[in-house]
């Protein structure tokens, strides 16, 4: 079942071009930079009367969401439609999978419907790799796979739009101290952010969380670990907050959201420990009063709404780059 891939990274084709976007890990710096550069002109398209470009006209983009997410699915849909693609939405959680159809059977059926691109969200880490490998093994590697979030593993478009946001407001990655705060253990967003920050040359990446929400070998990701938020935020240029899910209380990872907010919630007082021009980011949706105080979320340092706008442009860039390779 193992498939040989050119150069080892299954995301790149034999010319070193992006064939799939599954994870930021392993992508060279110039590939990431090219995606960010390509996204820049796409931000302007939203200002036009006709918010469309013809790049993906006649192409079919299938949104395969095995895990529900209206937000992410909608932004991918908007991005694909702005490129003139035909978009088909499939909420597999309510259809075939429940009837016992395997993941790969579902993929085979959809590929037979002339799909050009699959945007995949799945609850299990590694599912997009499985799909990409299967497509290659069955002679259909013209179909591109975009990972919209797999288990705890990766959410590369979120990582990229976060990097675009940082570059927009801070310009130079190589002079920054960035803190990622919250449930690192369960977060595919955090993993993608950490890989992107390190690849783009951020000299100090910090993670701030209670021990129960940090992976056992987290230091091997090349980050500086803090359990104390006051210490962790000192002198930081970018604060990246993560969402805390309610299930964490059930798994004996945390006693309550109140206690979490007390120690790791971002309040104006804690934010004041960062640099005065530090920016605050959040992938959304926000739990106000759990990981972030409303005063900060609505304050002048928060760039959460620009993240959303940039997110559409970044996803357009990714799909346009893949579609042409």
């Amino acid at each position: 079942m193992s498939v040989t891939t050119h150069g080892g990274n299954p995301q790149l084709n034999r010319h070193g071009e992006l064939n799939h976007l599954i994870t930021i890990e392993g992508l060279p710096r110039d590939v990431l930079t090219r995606i960010l550069d390509t996204a820049a002109p796409f931000t302007e398209v939203a200002e036009r009367e006709v918010k469309k470009l013809p790049l993906l006209r006649g192409k079919s983009v299938f949104n395969l969401f095995f895990e529900n997410s209206t937000r992410t699915r909608t932004t991918f849909e908007i991005a694909a439609k702005r490129l003139s693609a035909d978009v088909i939405n499939l909420n597999i959680s309510t259809s075939s999978a429940n009837k016992g159809e395997t993941l790969l059977d579902t993929v085979d059926n959809l590929a037979a419907m002339q799909a050009d691109m699959f945007v995949v969200r799945h609850a299990s880490s590694g599912a997009p790799y499985l799909i990409a490998q299967h497509l290659a093994a069955t002679g259909r590697d013209h179909i591109h796979v975009v990972n919209a979030g797999d288990g705890r593993h990766a959410h590369p478009t979120q990582g990229l739009l976060d990097m675009y946001t940082i570059r927009h407001f801070k310009k130079d990655f190589t002079r920054l101290t960035v803190a990622v705060v919250g449930d690192i253990l369960h977060s595919r967003v955090a993993r993608s952010q950490i890989h992107a920050l390190k690849t783009l040359g951020v000299p100090e990446v910090r993670v701030i969380a209670p021990k129960t929400l940090l992976p056992a070998a987290v230091d091997r990701l090349g980050v500086r670990v803090f359990n104390d938020m006051q210490e962790g935020l000192r002198g930081v240029d970018v604060v990246m907050m993560l969402r805390l899910q309610n299930e964490r209380m059930q798994g004996a990872l945390l006693p309550s959201t109140q206690e979490f907010f007390k120690s790791w919630g971002l309040t104006p007082e804690k934010l004041a420990l960062a640099k005065p021009d530090a920016i605050v980011m959040h992938p959304g949706p926000m739990n106000r009063g759990v990981e972030i105080d409303s005063a900060v979320a609505d304050g002048r340092q928060a760039v959460i709404l620009p993240q959303v706008t940039f997110g559409i442009a970044v996803r357009m860039a990714v799909m346009a780059m893949l579609g042409g390779n």
């Binding site: 302007e44 009367e49 006709v50 790049l55 042409g324």
Partner: protein, 168 residues
């Protein structure tokens, strides 16, 4: 085949401006230059004709018709149309007219912004080889080149424009 004499780009800019002057309204005509050479020429024309409406620029990368063959162009830039396209008199400005595909893409791009009243085309030189039914409104120079050769506009550090012949 003898190497054709390359024209003086600076002189041609002047000739182009002279040809356009009777036909443009300084307060109502808008110029849109195509990156990069067309933008340089449009800047000259804008000044020479004393136009009031701010200069626009287009990158045609997203409307090119060769995306499926060649993928996304590496250095796509933002297009800037700082005026209302609806009902406007727009002059597209480019350096060299060849197959006509770039002009088609530029028109598609402009129409994404609205419905212009009239569109004209001003180019510095027409090198022949049209593949689409596109014709310039104003063009002070023409020459014939073999397929393997490209005519390119360059700008020196001190802002001087000149033509160069390149092998494809």
């Amino acid at each position: 085949m003898p190497i054709p004499q390359l024209p003086d780009a600076e002189a041609l800019c002047g000739a182009l401006a002279d040809a356009m002057r009777p036909h443009v309204d300084a307060s109502a005509t808008a110029l849109v230059g195509i990156h990069t050479g067309g933008v340089w020429i449009a800047e000259r024309l804008h000044a020479a004709l004393g136009l009031k409406i701010a200069l626009g620029s287009i990158d045609v990368s997203f409307h090119r018709d060769d995306y499926n063959q060649r993928g996304l162009h590496a250095n796509a830039r933002s297009s800037q149309i700082p005026f209302d396209v609806d009902g406007a008199h727009i002059v597209i400005v480019d350096d060299v007219l060849y197959t006509g595909r770039t002009i088609r893409a530029a028109m598609n791009e402009i129409f994404d912004y609205g419905r212009p009243g009239r569109v004209d085309l001003a180019v510095l030189s027409d090198r022949g080889g049209r593949e689409l039914p596109v014709a310039p409104t104003w063009c002070p120079h023409a020459l014939s080149l073999p397929v393997a050769q490209m005519l390119a506009l360059e700008r020196s550090d001190d802002g001087r424009l000149s033509f160069r012949l390149m092998e494809k």
